[in-house]
Structure formats: C-alpha cells, structure tokens
Amino acid sequence: MKRLVYINDDSCRYSYCDNRISNTKYTLWNFFPKNLWEQFRRFMNQYFLLIACLQLWSRITPVSPVTTWGPLIIIFIVSASKEAWDDYNRYLSDKKANERNVWVVKDGVRRQIKAQDIHVGDIVWLHENDEIPCDLVLIGTSDPQGICYIETSALDGETDLKPRIVPPISANMSVEQLEKVKGIVECPNPDNDIRRFDANMRLFLPSVDNEKCPLTINNTLLQSCYLRYTEWACGVAVYTGNETKSGMSRGTAEPKLTAADAMIDKLTIAIFMLQIVVVLVLGYFGNIWKHTKGLKQWYLMYPAEGPWYGFLVIPLRFELLCSIMIPISIKVTLDLAKGVYAKFIDWDEQMFDWETNTPAHSANTAISEDLGQVEYILSDKTGTLTENRMIFKRCCINNIMYGNDNGDALKDARLLNAVSSNDPDIVKFLMVMALCNTVVPVKSNDDTVSYKAQSQDEEALVNAASNLNMMLISKDSSTAEICFNGSKFKYELLDVLEFTSDRKRMSVVVKEGQTGKILLLSKGADEAILPRVYPGQQKQRYLEAVEMYSQLGLRTLCLGWRDLEEDEYKEWSKNFQEASCSLENRESKIAEVCDSLERDLHILGVTAIEDRLQDGVPETIKLLRNAGINVWMLTGDKQNTAIQIGLLCNLITSEPNSQLLSISGKTEQDILRSLERALLITKNTCETKDLAFVLDGWALEIILKHSKESFTRLAMLSKTAICCRMTPLQKAQLVAILKSVGYLTLAIGDGGNDVRMIQEANIGVGISGREGLQAARAADYSIGKFKFLKRLILIHGRYSYNRTAFISQYSFYKSLLICFIQILFAFLSGFSGTSLFNSISLMAYNVFYTSLPVMTIIFDKDISETTVLQYPQILLHSQAGRLLNPTTFCGWFGRSLYHALVIFFITICAYADEKSEMQELSMVALSGCIWLQAFVVMMDSNSFTSPQIILIWGNFVAFYMINLILSAVPSLQLYTIMFRLCGQPSYWITMALTVAVAMVPVMAFRYFRNLYWPSPINILQQIEQSNGSIQPSRNVGSALKPARTNLTNLLTGSRGSRGSSYQPLLSDSAESTR
C-alpha cells in the first residue's frame, strides 16, 4: 500500500523503476508477431488467410494464388506500416523526453543527467519554464514564501497557473541545506488521481524536530507540467517513469465500432453462411457428377481409384471459387472513405470558429457514420451550451437588489453611490468578493493587475470588486493586500477552507492587519450557506433574490462572514492541522472540521453571475430535436439555473405544452416513489405533450442503487431530461445506461469533468473552450461551438452514413455478381470448379475495375445541405438505419443475382455454338459486369459531380485500355481476345442488350416506387427539383409545425419495437429495396 522514499539516499533507489517513459505499443522485436496477431484477430483476415493457404494447393485452386495473396499482403502491409509509423513517432517523442538533460543533486553536488536516469529519492533541480520530468515533492523554491507556480495544461487542460507550496517542514531551508537534506517520504503506491496526494514527510535535520509533516497535491510538482514565474524549484522524485500520475492516467482507448460496421459484420457472416451452403451443395453435386457422368467422359481420364481425400477436392475448389463472395477490398475501401469523411469535417469552413480560430477536427476517423445515427445527445451546460464567460450582473446586499433596472449592477447608480459613501455592509460584501477566493493576482510591468483563477466565477467576482474600487493588489501564501477607494489594507491569510463539490462552499480565515481581528469569510451555493446563518437572521429576502436570479438563468452565490474569537480559532486551528495530516479519509475529516467553523454566519448578500448562452444554441437544439434526436442536459449546476437554461435554449418549453417531472425527495423512499410516479405519468400522458424529467445527483445515486430498471425505462421514454448536480462519474453512468439499451449516444462537453462521459459515449464531442482543451483531447471530434453540432450530425453524419451504406452494400453486390456467374458456370462445366474468369481478370475486377467508381460516392449528396437543414426530420431515415439493414441488403443481393443471371444467359446464348470459345466468352461476361456496374453506380448516385463522371466513365475506358494492352501480350491467355471482340458487332450488341435487360426493370421499378410509394428522400429530391431552390418561408412553416407533434407519435411509437433497429420509424412502408 505504501511506498517509502528515502531522500537523497542511494541505498534503495533501485527498488523502483527509473524514469524512462515508454508509450510505444511495440518493440523492434515483437512488432512483427504482435502486429500480425492483432490483425489476425479480425474474422475477415483469418478468413482470407485460410483461403490464401488453400490456394497454395494447386490441385484445388481454380485461379492463381496471387489473386488472394496479392491483395491480402497489400492490406497487411498498409495497416502494419500505419501502425509502425505511429509507433515510431511515439518512440521518437519518448526518446526526446527521456534524453532531456535535467539537474540532479547527488552527494551534495549538482549534476546534469538525462531525464531517464532519475531515480526515486533523487533531488531534482528545476529552472523557470522547465518541464517537470517526474512526480516530485516540492522541498524548496526561489520564492522566500515557498511558493512556485506551475502550468498544468498538459495534464488537465487547465491553462491557469496553479500555486504550489513548499511544505512547512522544509520551508526556510538554505540552498546548501537542501542539497544535503535527508529524510523519508511516505506516500501511497502509484495511482492516476491527479487531484490527490495523501502523504507525509519526515526530514532528518538537526535543527528541526522529527515531526511528520503532511503533504497534499499542493506540495507536488507533477510530471509534464511546466514551472512558471519561479526562478528555481527543487523536489524529491517520488514517482518515476510510467508510474507517475500522468503516466498512470494514460489509457489506451478501445477502438470504437460504428453501428454501420456492426451491421456490415453481421452481413459478412450471413454471406459466409450462404457461401458454406453453396459450397456444400455444389460440392455434393460435383461428386455425384463425377461418379455418374465424369467417369464416362474418357477424355477426362479420371483414375478409377482416387486418393482418400478425393471427396473433399471438389467442395474445396468451390470454397475457393466462392471466396470472392466476401469482398477482400471492403475494409480498405471503407477505411479510405472514412478517412475522406474525416477530412471533409476538418476542412469544413462552416464549422470553422473564427472567434478562436478553431477548425472542427475529427480525431477518430472511423466513426463518422455513427454521427448520422445519433439518438441521444447528452450535453454539458457550462461552456457547452453557454459561453463560460462569467460576468457579474446583479447582487442583493442588505435586502436591496442592485442591477434590477438595467440588468447590470456595476452600472447601478445606487450601488456606486453606496460604494463611494463607504456603506459598511457594502464594503464587507466587496471585501468577501475580493478576499474569499484562490485567485492569483499577477502584476504586469506597467503595474496593472490581472487575475489568474481556477474558477471563472471567482475571476468574475474579483474583477467586479475591482470595478467597484475594491482591488486585490497582491497575494501570497500568508498575506493579501487590498485597496479600497485609494487606501490599502493588509490581511493575514490564516487558513483556506477549500471548495469541494460536496461542500459547495469555500471560506478563508483572515486576520485584519490593523485591528488584529480574526474573520471568517465564506461564499457558496445558497443551500450550503443559508442554513448556516446565525439564529434570527432574516433570510427571506435572500431566498427571494436567489429564486429570482435563477429564474433569470444567473448563477448565484451567497456571501457571509463572522467574527472569530482568538481562542476559538486556535482550538479549531489545531483540529484543522490534525485533519490535514491524516492519511486516511483526509477529505471527509477536513470537511467535518470546516463544518464546525462555518456556522452562525452573517449573510452579506447574494451575487448573480451571468453565463451567456452561446450563439445559435436554441436554434441548434430545436433543429436537433426536430431531427428526432433526444437531448439531455447534464450539469454540475443547480436545478433552478439548469431549468432556466433549459427553457432559454429550447430544451424544454413552458406549460402547458410540456410538463416537467421532478424526481426528488427527502428520503430514499420519497425519491423512489417520485420516480415511479414520473414513470406512470410518462406512460399515460398524451403523446403530443413534451415531458421532461429533472433530477439531481443525489437522487440519481439512490435510484441507481435501488431502482435502476425503472429508471432505464423512464430514460427510454423521455425525450428530454435535465440532470443537475452531476459528478463526472454520474454523467458517464447516464451515458452507460442509455448505451446499455442499445441507443446510440453522443456526449458533448468542454471541461475535464466531461471527459469520462465523452469517453463512455459512442461518440464523444469536445468543445475546445475556455475550460481548457482536455475534453477536446479525449473526444472523437472537437468543435469550436455548440452550434456546429448540427452540421456535424445532419450534414457530415448523414452523408457519411448514406455513403457508407452504399459503399458497403455495393462492395457485396459486385462480389456476389461475379461469384454468382462463377456458380452458374459450374452447372455447365460438370460441377468441376472451373473458373470462367482468368486470374488476372478476377484480381483486377476486385482491386481495380470496381473499387474506383464506387469511391465516387464520397462526393454524392442525395439532397442538398439546405434541404437537410430545412427538413431535419429526414435524419430519422438514417437514424433508424434505413439505408443499411438486412432488407436493403436483400435488395442488393437480389439485384446481384438477377444481374448475374442476365449476364450469364445473354452471354451463353449470344456466344453459343461456333463462338463459344472460352477466353472470348469469359471476356464477354466480364465486360458485361463492368458495363453493369458502371450503370448501377450511375443509377444509384444521386448527384453527379465532375470527379464522379470522370471516375465512372474513366474507369470504363480504363477497362478497355487495360484489356487491349493485355491483349497485345502474346504470352497471356488474353492475347488478341479484346481486339477480336471489339471488332465484332455482336459483342457490342450483346453488351447493349445486357445493360438494357438488367437496367430496364430496375429503372421501371424505381420510377414506379419513387412516384407512388416515395420515401421521404425521394420527395425531398422532387421538391428540390421542382422548386429549383426551396423557398424557405413557405416550406419551413408548413413543414415544421405539424412535424413536431407527429414526430412525437412516431418516436414514442417506435420505442415499442426497439431491438430491431432497422424497422421503419416513419409511418410509411416504402422500403429501400431496389
């Protein structure tokens, strides 16, 4: 459990690892086997390897083994080199970090060594702007107060400076002493909690008594942070290498599989089954034919006695012949397409945030299709829906509300007058604003003071105070200086009772420099402060103020203070020290001690801080909800504020159109009862009414403990929910609940507290906002503003889904097409497993002829972006998986069977008798496939851009060019074939016939369906066509209003048939069969 670190002592330094960082996945030696092993964990790769190995047996292979080995090796090399490149880069950056020079004290002498050679117990000497090489316990700095500042943005994404303090035991030590110091640090084993370090230290010094000194996270310098504004600092290495806190919190994320990918896998397995059946049936026929007819065909010279495995030969041949049923190229094609989708997101100018110069970025290139199938959005509030730019707007002091008239207290003449007249209540109020915080004033060269704060609220308060002439001028660990109306006051900072999310308040204990009075200054949430007032204080007015401010969507804080007696403080201080030193349950012990002090407060007033909604949030939420996406808001903020923000951003509407069900209560029973009630109401309410439920973190905790199932049911029925007072873990739990019932979730947030939820969700979106970049780093996509989410989902997500649906099904179509022709040919070749096509053609067909035209679909748009944004309901189509599901696949399957029959029968009828030469007939059939696939891609493209036309017809021309060139090589089987065919009128007539017979029914069917059973996409296409461009005024109004109500029906109706996600959500039954 514990780790003992002997400071500056070589005796035990080798019991822990050195400071070598390694982020690489492979080593030089294990790369090949490990990478191969990883690749072969995929079913498809195993399958193709098996096929490739079988092909080495020349007795059964219908075509040259190159047809499988070639593509397989290419695919392997491509993915292995990608992995190798990534890993090499990781290695380089590790190496750079490991070989960095650092100063270390050894035997009392400072020496420069490589970072990787630091051992636990070494004293590391850092200079300003150095990166910290490992986790250190601070023992000395250049600052006489023992403070240094670090920037932790690499660790938690927060850009503000954080002060770190030398523990009292080693404070005031000289540089010489520091270089020779010995001692023991007792600390927990390595973990990944970057906010906790419960340890203690003992130094062996003659001058200091041998007392244990407690250490907290504030006494540490963590790896990968930077030392700032401090000339030097030194510390004892406690965790090194990959055992540091940042090393331990590095996780490898599981690769995410999209819903479309899962469907493709299912289809692949289905096709594999079909293949087995075909192989067994044809193999059986083959053996029968061999024994009944084959032995009589003297020219085949079947030996009377075959080898014992003779009965296996024909089935295995068919297995190889049919192996092309599963397209080897599908993964490469899809990966390529997905890469392009991701690039389109990166390039999108309309998602470029000009304010912060942030482009949208997709860190995960593999999951764009899922964006188009999102069903639940779980959004953070602060910084995501709002700007996270806190501005002090109103306050209520001494029962007077300031800022009510003009909405800005800083411009309220009454307040300004009160300030200039030194109203004592107001002065106290401002003093709390200026002192009760952890803000660091930073003096710049021109003597102006700027503030660095961890909390945006505190920064807003301090700034407001300074606008009201109460300036916080300087502050160090023990003193603070403020300047009010020109006169300076000094305060001694005795203790800081820190803010935690449980306590929801923070306090400071200060001693007035002039009078020596000890004061407790507190600020916190109303429910944390108001119950702690002294008996008899009027709080009614403040409750009203809080109520009113949260109605306006403002964040409120209550400020209070109390005088402390010298004795009372001394006694408390002792308890506080003790609690701070405890190794176990430190946090709760401290909370208990703080509690005992924070009582009998005098309420000074209430502050209200505005956090404005981001630009375009209400419109975006409305659009997303019209698109059938359910939006939940998860916030750490309090209920009233959350509800107000919910109203402001269209998440919930006011009565009577909607009803807010609150799940709350004083006891566990109350909460569970109110949950059941909410569930009952939700089930029985008329569907046109919007229902939303509200609950807080405490209620959620109880519900998850006792009644998870009912809550899951409620979650499935609720389109909207507001969850307040959520911890990061609870946010992730909510995502997990929705995921567990099969919904596709998207989590969006901006701060470190959203990271868990972002990683848990199917899709994580980070807003690169003011709370740092931590969320953006963990997310699959990062965007600059919430409003870009609509483009990300409705445009990029939807198009990606449509395109992937086409590409994957088309890949199966073309493979099945050529495979069916081979199967049909088996009936005419005595079930012997002859391949109609030669090896070159087969390989080129899969790799070249058919893979290029299908890529053109990445430019395809079924309906224009404007139309999608105007009719967001169309997203339901892709959300329900209407374009890629077993039904649509059956359509493609049927089409490939039909087309194979057409090609085969037209070919053998037109090229019968004296024309039935093997090579010619094979080339006629192959040309038929190429012609058809060009027309199929044409038919299924919704729009034609120049690259599409060039690729489709260029590929067509390339096919003829390649085959004409191949026909000029005498050693090939194809020699002269193409020249002969192109000279025959019957060849061209046959091709035209094939196309007509194959495409006329498809076109007729499609026309008929588009006109009489149109899908919403068809209708929108027609609308686009007839309007030229859509007139927004008319359509939006008429389309959206009834849409709202009916959508409710559709959505709630569809919930019952959950599980088969491809079932039509829309009430029409036009399926996408083709």
Binding site: P62, R90, K96, S224, R250, T252, K296, Q297, L300, M301, Y302, R317, F344, Q350, F352, N357, P359, H361, A363, N364, R777, S829, S832, G833, T834, Q873, C909, E914, S916, M918, L921, S922, N942, F944, T945, S946, P970, S971, Y975, P985, I989, L993, A996, M1003, A1004, Y1007, N1010, L1011, L1020, Q1022, I1023, Q1025, S1026, A1039, A1043, N1046, L1050, G1053, L1066, S1067
Partner: protein, 347 residues
C-alpha cells in the same frame, strides 16, 4: 511528454489552427467544402417515359436487323453419330474402340436454299465438357510455343510424359484431338474443303511454334484421338490449333474447313466420313454443319428476338406509365406526402 489518446492528431489540430489563414482557405474550396457543381437527375415521368421510348426506338430496328441477318444464314445440320454405326452393332462403345474396323460411312445432304461461298464446315459435339477443370488446365502453353521448353509439362498429367520423355503436345486436350474426317462430293464432283486458315492467325503465329514438332504423341498404351504427323510443325497443325481453343460450353462447334463454291437449292452433297471419334461412352452427339455467315455470325435468332422483346417491353412500359400518369396523376415533390406531414394512420 505525456501522450494522451489523441495526442498526435491533437498536434495536427494545433498545426491546422496555425496554418489556417484566410488565403489558404480558398484553394480547392469547392472540393473541400463538398460544393462541386452537380447535376441531379430525378426519375420524373417525362424523363423516364422518354428514356423508355428512346430505348424502344433504338432496340426494335436493331432487333429486326439482327433477326434478318440470322434468317439469311443457311444452315445444314446432320447428326451422324447414331446413323454411322451399323444397325447390327449393339455395343457401340466396343465398335468405336475397335481399331481394326474400318468405320467409314456415307451421308447425303440436300441444300435447302442457295448458299453463297464461303460456306463454313463445322463439326458439332454435344455433351462434351471441354470446360471441365481436369481438362481445361491439362495443357502447356510454354511447350507449344517454345521448342526449348518441351519438358515443361507440369499441368499435363496424366498425359505428360512417356517413358520419362515429354510428350509434345502434352495434356488431355491435345491427346483427345477430334479425328473424324469428312469428304464432300457435290453432284458427283469432289467438293474441296479448304482446311487452310481455319485457326486464328494469332495462334499460328504466336501460340504455336513453327519449330515445335510433335514428339511421343499418341504413343502411349491409351490412344485418345487423332495422331499428328511428327514432321509437320505445330503451327501448321491447324486442326490441333482449333481444338486447343477450348469451348466454354458443353455444346460447341469447331471449324473443320471452308468451301469456296456456291451451292444451289436442291443440290445434293454426299459426305464420306470416317467415324472414329468416341462420343458413345458418354452419349454425346456428333453433327456435321454446313453454314453461311453474315455480319452477325452464324445462325442465332437469340439476339434478334431479345432485342425485339426488350424494345417491345420498353414501348409497353412507356405506354403503361403514360396511361398510369394520365389516370392517376401524382404531384411530384408534394410536401404533404412527407410522412411527418401526414396524419398518423391507424394509431
């Protein structure tokens, strides 16, 4: 440096951020913004009906022309496998396999229509699987082309070597070479069947070597088909070259020769044939075919009929769709058809 999950892509983002300037945005923006100009054809009634009419208009004349071409071809087909076995023979297989019997046979054909030269003489085999996997692979192209590669007989089993020496040409295809012969007599005059140039020129020149001569061919215990003159190079053995162009279908015709004489209606052709080739073991038919040819090839009604059918179908569909459109017009692109704009049914 700590590496978080998206570390490298994140660096890329930062790079993007810095490189993203107004000037660089505009390059290729049509492409990157997915705003390439596009045309969006839609299956509107007008468009679809005119396509069908157009297809019909194109297909019917082609069909008529193809059918006429096929009808112009005069074709005489005579099946002789059964007829050429004497009536008293019960075991046809034993009969055909008996080398000692002289198997000549005489058939009489009557010309049904005038036939203009050149007239093609084919033999047709039925139920003969030249496309069987065992058969189709049993050859060595290297050996046929190149004198020095006579020993390359990898795929030729079981007709690869004889007493350790390579067979040229090896393999089942060559071994089973068709060996019936036809002598044609027109009204008591000998009718010359020109056997020159019956194979593909490219095969003679590049696939079969002029310096490659048959070796050890048909010398084994089992004799398949025709024997080859070991003094004639393979490139001049045109029957072999024709036979080696394997057929893809179990019923096929192969060119035997050409007649450069016009035949008149009711001319009588007497065929003296030697019936050597064994199709009796597997019940295959043998036919002698005399046929003229047109621009479309031999007699084959399929293309013509198929074109007429497709053309007719297109006209019918165009007509039916027009009718349907007139009877039950439907406004295309009506907002009210959108499912979310329709009152929910049956709920």
């Amino acid at each position: 440096m700590p590496t978080f999950r998206t570390h490298f892509s994140y660096e890329a983002l930062l790079e993007l951020r810095s490189s993203y300037t107004c000037s660089s945005v505009k390059t290729d923006s049509k492409f990157t913004q997915q705003e390439l100009p596009a045309c969006k054809p839609i299956l509107t009634p007008k468009w679809v009906i005119s396509v069908f009419v157009l297809v019909g208009v194109i297909f019917v004349p082609i069909g008529v022309a193809s059918l006429r071409a096929s009808q112009q071809v005069v074709e005489i087909v005579d099946r002789y496998d059964d007829a050429c076995v004497p009536a008293n023979v019960t075991d046809k297989l034993a009969y055909i396999q008996d080398k000692s019997i002289q198997k000549s046979c005489t058939r009489t054909l009557t010309v049904t229509k005038d036939m203009n030269q050149p007239i093609f003489v084919y033999y047709q085999l039925d139920n003969f699987y030249q496309n069987h996997r065992r058969y189709v692979k049993s050859r060595s192209d290297d050996q046929l082309r190149d004198k020095s590669k006579a020993a390359v007989t990898t795929n030729c089993d079981p007709e690869a070597t004889l007493n350790g020496k390579p067979i040229v040409p090896c393999g089942l295809i060559a071994w089973s070479l068709f060996n019936d012969t036809y002598n044609l007599i027109l009204n008591n005059d000998n009718l010359t069947v020109d056997k020159k140039d019956i194979s593909w020129k490219s095969d003679r020149e590049h696939k079969f070597g002029s310096d490659v001569f048959p070796q050890n061919f048909q010398q084994g215990p089992l004799i398949g088909g025709k024997t080859l003159n070991p003094n004639v190079s393979l490139s001049e053995q045109e029957d072999l070259i024709v036979w080696m162009r394997t057929a893809a279908l179990p019923t096929f015709r192969k060119l035997y020769g050409r007649i450069h004489v016009d035949l008149k209606v009711n001319d009588t052709i007497t065929v003296h044939l030697e019936n050597n080739y064994n199709t009796y073991s597997f019940g295959g038919k043998k036919k002698l075919v005399l046929s003229t040819t047109t621009w479309l090839g031999g007699k084959n009604d399929f293309l013509g009929l198929a074109y007429l059918t497709v053309g007719g179908l297109c006209f019918f569909l165009a007509f039916a769709f027009t009718l349907l459109y007139l009877i039950k017009p439907r406004k295309s692109g009506d907002n009210n058809y959108l499912s979310w704009n329709r009152p929910p049914v049956g709920r």
